[in-house]
C-alpha cells in the first residue's frame, strides 16, 4: 500500500526516529511503512492521520502497491 509518510515527514524536517517517537513506535516500523513493506494497524494509521492532521485516505492509497 502506497503512502505519503516520507514526504510529510520530510516537509516537517523530522527524522524517522523523530516520527517514531511521536507515534510511540520503533524507528524500524516507520521505515517499513515508508518503504511499503509493512501496512500499519488501524489504530496506528489513525495516530498517523491525527499527527499530520489529515484524513487517512489522504495518507494511504490502498489501491496501489509500492
Amino acid at each position: 500500500m502506497k503512502n505519503r509518510l516520507k514526504v510529510l515527514r520530510a516537509e516537517r524536517d523530522w527524522t524517522q526516529a523523530d516520527l517514531a517517537q511521536r507515534l510511540e513506535v520503533s524507528r524500524q516500523t516507520v521505515n517499513a511503512i515508508e518503504i511499503g513493506k509493512y501496512d500499519p494497524s488501524l489504530p496506528l494509521a489513525f495516530r498517523i492521520a491525527r499527527l499530520f492532521k489529515m484524513p487517512i485516505e489522504d495518507l494511504f492509497d490502498p489501491d496501489t502497491n509500492t
Binding site: D18, A20, Q21, R22, E24, V25, S26, Q28, T29, N31, A32, K37, Y38, P40, S41, L44, L51, K53
Partner: protein, 140 residues
C-alpha cells in the same frame, strides 16, 4: 501536554522493550539454570522423591514466569516487532510439531534410529531467534 512539535515524554518504546526483554532474559536464564540443576539432580539421585517433585514444580513455575514475561513483552512492544516475533514463533512451532512428527514417522517406519527427541526442542529454540533476525531483515 504534548503538541505535535513535542515528542511524547516518559518511558519510550525502546526503553520499555529493553526492560521487558531483560525480564524475559532473567526468567529464561533462571529457568534454564533450574532445568539443568534438576536434570542433574534426578540423574545423580541427589534428592528424595518429594524434593525432586518440588524442584520439578519450581522449574515449571519459572517456565510459566518466562512465558508470562514474554507475553508482556509481546503486548507492549510496537506492532512490527510483535508481528516479527509472532511469525518467528509460528515457524518455531512448525519446526517442532511438523518436523517432529515427520521424524517420528521415520523412526516408527525404521528408516532412522532415534534415542530421544530432545534435539527437537533445541531446533525450536534455535529456530525462533534465527527467524526473528530474518524477520527484521525482511522488513528493513
Amino acid at each position: 501536554m504534548n503538541t505535535n512539535d513535542d515528542p511524547p515524554r516518559g518511558t519510550s518504546s525502546r526503553e520499555r522493550d529493553r526492560r521487558n526483554r531483560w525480564r524475559v532474559t532473567i526468567w529464561a536464564l533462571a529457568w534454564a539454570f533450574s532445568f539443568a540443576a534438576v536434570t542433574l539432580g534426578i540423574k545423580k539421585e541427589w534428592w528424595s522423591s518429594g524434593v525432586t517433585l518440588a524442584a520439578v514444580i519450581g522449574t515449571a513455575l519459572l517456565g510459566l514466569a518466562t512465558v508470562l514475561a514474554y507475553r508482556l513483552f509481546l503486548r507492549e512492544t510496537d506492532e512490527l516487532r510483535r508481528k516479527i516475533e509472532v511469525e518467528a514463533l509460528a515457524l518455531a512451532f512448525g519446526v517442532g510439531v511438523f518436523g517432529g512428527l515427520s521424524f517420528w514417522l521415520l523412526a516408527v517406519s525404521g528408516a532412522v534410529e532415534v534415542k530421544d527427541f530432545a534435539f527437537l526442542f533445541v531446533a525450536m529454540i534455535l529456530t525462533h531467534p534465527l527467524a526473528v533476525v530474518l524477520g527484521y531483515r525482511r522488513y528493513s
